[in-house]
């Protein structure tokens, strides 16, 4: 990884969510969420599975259609029916738990395809941008490989480079390390840490508490479709106020000593 690349600063935009509701049939997953992420801020969403944190993240770039509420993303009103969603998504990078690299394209093509087809960048410029971002994630020499020739951690780093190649002003991470072998988690977190240092606005759904504590400006604990507690990362994780937060963190931070009620 070349150092001058990791020091690049980003043009950042924020997120503003008001009164967000989302249901699947009778099952209400999000019960009125208010959430603000300021430009350049790193916010981690934590909580038990089924708490709605992934759904919330997927609502931000409208992969899920909310039932009610307003979402503003970098100057776009995402819930306006007339908004150009494709234009908006170009500015919002998304990293998935399962990487979702395009298996029929090389690593380099994964990073250039949207630049040329969507942003209409000339091939040479797209390639240059892709190479810069592959260098940034430490995979500059892997451009000719296919995704299935890489480890999980490498694939996820390519997925990050692919998203960065669109020059996003906001990055969404949906449990980016949950599908990884333990020994490759660190390399992905290292990339994310360097993005945070570069001033990227990041909204991260994660179970990596030490990462959240160290990197996040703010942590939001969700349970049952509502925000239970939020605040500076060190306070929420180090000294949680709500019983549900305390219980969750105990289970996550010390899983060998969880007691099961008979």
């Amino acid at each position: 990884m070349s150092d001058n690349n990791t020091q690049t600063t980003f043009k950042a935009s924020g997120v503003d969510i008001r009164g967000l509701h989302k249901s699947y049939g009778d099952n209400e997953v999000l019960k009125g969420i208010d959430l603000e992420v300021k430009p350049g801020e790193v916010v981690c969403l934590i909580g038990p599975s089924g708490s709605g944190k992934s759904t919330l993240l997927r609502c931000v770039n409208l992969l899920e259609q909310p039932n009610a509420g307003v979402i503003h993303v970098g100057g776009f009103d995402a819930t306006d029916l007339d908004v150009d969603l494709d234009k908006m998504r170009q500015k919002v990078g998304m990293v998935f738990q399962q990487f979702n690299l395009f298996p029929h394209l090389t690593v380099l093509q994964n990073c250039t395809v949207a630049q040329t087809k969507v942003l209409k960048r000339p091939a040479a410029q797209a390639k240059e941008t892709a190479q810069k971002n592959l260098n940034r994630v430490g995979l500059g020499d892997f451009g000719d490989r296919y995704p299935d020739q890489l480890s999980g951690g490498q694939q996820q780093r390519v997925a990050i480079a692919r998203a960065l190649s669109m020059d996003p002003t906001l990055m969404l991470f949906d449990e980016p390390t949950s599908a990884l072998d333990p020994e490759t988690v660190g390399e992905v977190l290292a990339i994310m840490r360097s993005l945070a240092k570069g001033g990227m606005t990041m909204l991260v759904v994660t179970h990596e508490m030490s990462f959240a504590k160290e990197v996040a400006d703010r942590v939001i604990f969700m349970d049952g479709g509502v925000v239970v507690e939020q605040g500076p990362a060190k306070e929420v994780i180090g000294n949680p106020q709500q019983p549900r937060t305390q219980d969750f963190l105990k289970r996550v931070l010390d899983p060998t000593h969880v007691e099961i009620a008979e």
């Binding site: 770039n61 992969l63 998504r89 029929h104 395809v113 969507v118």
Partner: protein, 264 residues
Amino acid sequence: MAMTTRQRARLSKIIQIVIFLGVIVAVVLQVDWRILGDNFFAFDKLGPIFPELITVGLKNTLYYTVISFAFGLALGLLLALMKMASFAPYRWFATGFIEFFRGVPAILVLIAFGYGVPTAFPGTSWPQPVVVMVSLGLVSAAYIAETLRAGLQAVPKGQIEAARSLGMPAWRAMVTIVIPQAFKIVLPPMTNEIILLTKDSSLAFILGASMAQYEMTKIGRDGITSLGAGITPLIVAGAFYLVITIPLSLIARKFESRSARTKR
């Protein structure tokens, strides 16, 4: 005498081979080789059907297959997309079409378009290649539609989500991300479809066309009555079908192993 499992397996294999060879020998002994030769392998009498079997028959078989497949593929893709559409009437139409043309014998469709259309609409008469293309195209479109739909739906949903997240419109995600991956999935069943079409093109014989429009089976059948070589002309015509279909299978297999390398 007790036998080990391995000895028993070997004995079983030997018995199978003996029975197999026995059946073949019995059949061979029953055959009257002189009559068989006169009726199945009288190649010396085939002079009159050459070169027409190739210059007309093989050419027309290929021609009918290719135009029917092109029409069937275009229509089949349309039907597959209709079947996946959110607008319900599209799905109903596609389902009805597919069930109908998949369930009716191709020969009935050929008769309907070859004789039914000129009768129902006096004055309209399609040239034979058009009748074949429309009839076989409609039937193959029904099969192709189901194959394509299965292939398109086999591409994981995360691929579309990733493409849309990069700002691709739905059609662009389809064209650039989904269809290339679906192509690899549908290649083997698609090869099947072309091979079936190649053989179904022989049904064109019922349309009773002029000599220039004969395909291989028609020429072979006419040869039976005119040459006095038994069904030898059909045997030869059959061999030429294999000349088309076997290379097709080989090409498809080559494609498959190549895509298997890039996508395990």
